[in-house]
């Protein structure tokens, strides 16, 4: 666990030091933490993907409450908006947003930035909580997904950059969808219903909804360079 002192930021002077600090935290990530805290951050602006990753890293390695506060400021209002959009009442959406932030704090060490962007990871946490909540209400039960497998302790810088780029490209890719395509994709996430119910609510044949989803997914794939 890194204490927020300046010592660990200095370049290692001997091979022993290098080994020791590598065991504590990947050296490649250390300067980033400090950049996150020391740079004049505009805390009212939305956090970009790279800042989210750095702050979750700080929460994981130093239980840094200041970093958590910044993450809370960014994610909690968006989580609440997401659940309101998915049709939850104000109180339930608020509770899910708070629970998600609590789990973000507890599970931060399991976040593997080489596998998914920070927002994607937060989305998976809140999705699983929503599934749990639905289960407690005994409504038709969607499936709880298990926690992520253990994180790779030292993701390569290359993997981090790739994943970060992908998160940014995904947002760009969503903007290239037609309004109708984006609508069915959003409904897939916001409406707690199978595609047949989406078809009913849009008054479209099921085949049309399915083919729109297929076109949208194909489009996203093209935008992401065939990796989806």
């Amino acid at each position: 666990m890194i204490q927020p002192t300046g010592a660990c930021v200095k370049a290692p002077v001997s091979r022993y030091d290098a080994k020791r600090s590598a065991a504590r935290v990947p050296l490649s990530r250390v300067p980033l933490y400090w950049a996150a805290l020391l740079s004049p951050v505009d805390i009212t602006a939305p956090l970009d993907a790279a800042a989210q990753v750095r702050l979750i890293g700080l929460v994981a390695e130093a239980q840094d409450r200041q970093a958590f506060a910044l993450l809370f400021k960014h994610f909690a209002p968006r989580l609440k908006a997401f659940h309101l959009r998915a049709g939850l009442a104000d109180g339930a959406a608020e509770e899910l947003a708070q629970e998600t932030m609590l789990l973000l704090w507890r599970k931060a060490a399991g976040f593997d930035p080489a596998r998914a962007g920070a927002a994607t990871w937060v989305f998976t946490i809140t999705r699983n909580l929503r599934i749990d909540a639905a289960r407690r209400r005994q409504s038709p039960l969607p499936g709880q997904l298990p926690a992520w497998p253990e994180a790779d302790p030292s993701p390569s810088a290359e993997a981090l950059i790739l994943e970060n780029e992908r998160a940014i490209r995904m947002r760009g890719a969503l903007d290239t969808l037609t309004a109708a395509q984006r609508h069915v994709i959003e409904l897939s996430f916001f409406a707690d219903t199978p595609h047949s119910s989406i078809a009913t609510s849009l008054k479209l044949p099921l085949g049309t909804v399915k083919s729109r989803i297929r076109q949208a997914l194909t489009r996203l794939r093209e935008q992401l360079g065939g990796e989806a």
Binding site: R115, A116, A119, T120, V122, F123, G143, H195
Partner: protein, 223 residues
């Protein structure tokens, strides 16, 4: 599931999208997850769908939180969550080289039940569905001896099967270890275990309807 085998049959895009969005039926989600443990390709596919969810989340216009929200969460940061109870599992006596996906360790496994010559099944209970009356989480583990026909059946809704060991063949094709087979209410099929026998996980929405004399028994027993 043996790591040397690369699955050739995968869940459909629509199924994985619902899994990523969190709207897939619990049983189907469980089986799809078990498949993904052994299938890097599907892990990549779902990561992309989850990234769509992440992008949607990140692009939401912020909503107004309760003024006490942050204080309420801060006050709970040091709580320790209660551990989940250990699952209860019947002994399965599987062949020693069977590799089960780790997700199976999280659910209760009921006693073995007989369903025709050389065919046995166990009901699974998924974590979080322990309450009475939890509907729509029908997952069973089916074991069929070599070359035995597995009960002829159809479904009232979607079915997802994952082969854990051996394989089976039905009118839609041949499925081997690690493969998934998806079918819906339109398919009436009778899988037949391959020469190695077949162990598979089977999840279905709604009900599974047996036909033939087993179906007669099912209807008589009101099942």
């Amino acid at each position: 599931m043996s790591p040397r085998h690369h699955p050739t049959h995968h869940p459909a895009d629509a199924t994985l999208l619902r899994l990523a969005a969190g709207t897939l039926n619990a049983g189907l989600a469980f089986v799809a997850q078990a498949h993904m443990h052994g299938c890097a390709q599907c892990r990549t596919r779902i990561a992309a769908f989850e990234a769509v969810g992440g992008a949607l989340l990140d692009s939401q216009p912020p909503a107004t939180l309760a003024p006490t929200a942050f204080a309420a969460v801060l006050a709970r940061l040091d709580e320790t969550p209660a551990p989940a109870p250990a699952p209860r599992q019947a002994k399965l006596n599987l062949p020693p080289d069977t590799v089960l996906p780790p997700i199976l360790a999280t659910c209760d496994i009921g006693p073995s039940l007989w369903l025709g010559r050389g065919v046995r099944f166990n009901k699974l209970r998924l974590p979080g569905t322990a309450q009475a009356g939890a509907p729509q989480t029908n997952v069973i583990l089916v074991r069929a001896a070599a070359n035995r026909p597995i009960f002829r059946h159809t479904h009232t809704a979607q079915e997802l099967t994952l082969i854990l060991r051996g394989g089976y063949t039905d009118i839609t094709g041949q499925y081997a270890t690690g493969d998934t087979a998806e079918s819906d209410a339109t398919l009436l099929h009778q899988p037949r275990a391959d020469a190695e026998g077949c162990i598979c996980l089977l999840a279905f929405e709604g009900r599974l309807l047996l036909t033939g004399w087993l179906g007669w028994c099912q209807r008589r027993l009101g099942g």
